[in-house]
Symmetry: C2
Subunit: 289 residues, 2 copies
């Protein structure tokens, strides 16, 4: 299920290399995967989500490492949809999704990574962050909720924190869902005219649009400053949902495949257990007589 | 998707009525659902899991109530398998699975419901307990980890706790996965001969078997003392996995259907939002020129 070299080459174009300057206007929002049209990509995504379920079982069995997936993007970029479409086939027993909303008073009484640290996946688990500690250099910066010197210092805090997680066996993948302003507007229009989804609309969805350029700048800095070898950012062309789902599913699959996951050694004396077993069968037979 | 009266009648036979005496030897482990053979039941279960995904979305949107599913059963009864087979289609964003293992030192420094209370689902969420507070009247009783008067008092504590959850909008479903000793032995044998699953075997799986009758008695008391109108126990015939999955999926579906879930009223002025939208479209048009 490892996919073609052509696929892997395309996925690699989405990764922000450590130290690379990021000008988001040069990153496509509506790119298509090399060699796949929509039908082919959807068929591949269906295969890959099956593969993810198997790999998740190995991650759980192996229990030496964990996977943390960070989803970031503007309103309507598709964070919820990605979780629903890419992650729904996983066994919920090994998945922990955390949606970071407005911090509580208790959160604010601590450093900005306090609430995040509590939510990281344990060994064998997949953690999914719907928004994350990156909001503390995004919305917080755009709305000037703290002084500049405070949010500027956070890139280093974030890198040190992610290195701590990496060192204890967590693989980190960070996805920026990159959509165009036109696509966002189109998605808002769809919500506005869909009676089953109107309740999801808030005034903020629209009023935040005037900060588009400020958010873009904040994302560019975050991607530049925090895309590391062990915790890379990927800029996902997210105007088309099928491209987004394919790209994210495949990147997660490649990462899990690279982790050398295996079922653990047997920790008990199987021969002794077999003796137990035969004794139990014999006893059951005696009971039945 | 509500199913036939015949189906509902059969499901109702699995419910422990409040105050009912429970003699587990009289409850089938290998019953079949009225009117369904294996193929028909599996087809129905596939339909029902799709329905559960839709109902979960409504539960999340509605955000006035939550669902707590408690899974109990002896080793190899199928708790993990139920989660994988019945719950994997759910959106992991709204599902929280908690596996209660040996309590930690910190857990033991508190009352037995302390760690459980922290794990209950919030409004809009589905919580799944893989084992639960019931272990405190099961394994704790069988192995005499506390005095009898301590575990005996716990039935009342549990009922009061579950009433608290019910009063704040949590629907509780408790499933006892009822298997025969022969089926358990068969499942251990399968694990023993499957190289990908041998690592899951522990000595305790076998040594616990000698306490079968003590566990049965402890379950009978727990089912009798804590099956209430609002937090019923169901005794699931679990020797056949397809029967187990069908029964549990359908009971959860019936429960969600009975909860009168609906999407919330729109909380914003849609006309005002439409004006925002038209202004944004006009501005986008002006930019494009």
């Amino acid at each position: 299920m490892a996919g073609s070299q052509e696929e892997r080459d395309w996925l690699e174009t989405l990764r922000v290399k450590p130290g690379q300057k990021v000008d988001l206007s040069a990153w496509p929002t509506a790119d298509k995967p090399n060699g796949h049209d929509k039908d082919a990509a959807e068929a591949r995504t269906a295969e890959v989500t099956q593969s993810l379920a198997q790999l998740q079982f190995l991650l759980y069995a192996d229990a030496r490492s964990s996977l943390l997936v960070v989803l970031q993007g503007l309103d309507a970029a598709g964070k919820d949809g990605t979780i629903r479409k890419v992650m729904s086939g996983l066994n919920p027993q090994g998945v922990k999704v955390t949606s970071f909303k407005q911090p509580t008073a208790q959160d604010l009484a601590h450093d900005f990574l306090w609430r995040v640290h509590k939510a990281v996946p344990g060994k064998g688990e997949v953690g999914i962050f719907n928004r994350s500690h990156y909001e503390d250099v995004l919305v917080v910066r755009v709305h000037e909720l703290v002084e500049e010197k405070v949010w500027r210092a956070r890139y280093d805090h974030i890198n040190a924190f992610e290195q701590l997680l990496t060192a204890s066996g967590t693989r980190i993948l960070k996805f920026f869902l990159h959509i165009s302003p036109e696509e966002q507007l189109e998605r808002f229009a769809v919500r506005l005219n869909d009676p089953t989804r109107q309740w999801k609309i808030s005034e903020a969805d629209y009023t935040e649009r005037k900060h588009w350029d400020a958010y873009t700048k904040a994302y560019e800095d975050a991607l530049e400053r925090t895309s590391t070898k062990d915790a890379p950012w990927y800029v996902i062309p997210a105007d088309r949902k099928w491209v987004r789902n394919f790209a994210i599913a495949r990147i997660i699959e490649e990462t899990l495949l690279s982790m050398d996951l295996k079922t653990p050694k047997v920790s008990v004396d199987l021969e002794d257990i077999r003796r137990h077993y035969h004794a139990a069968v014999a006893a059951a037979g005696a009971d039945a007589r």
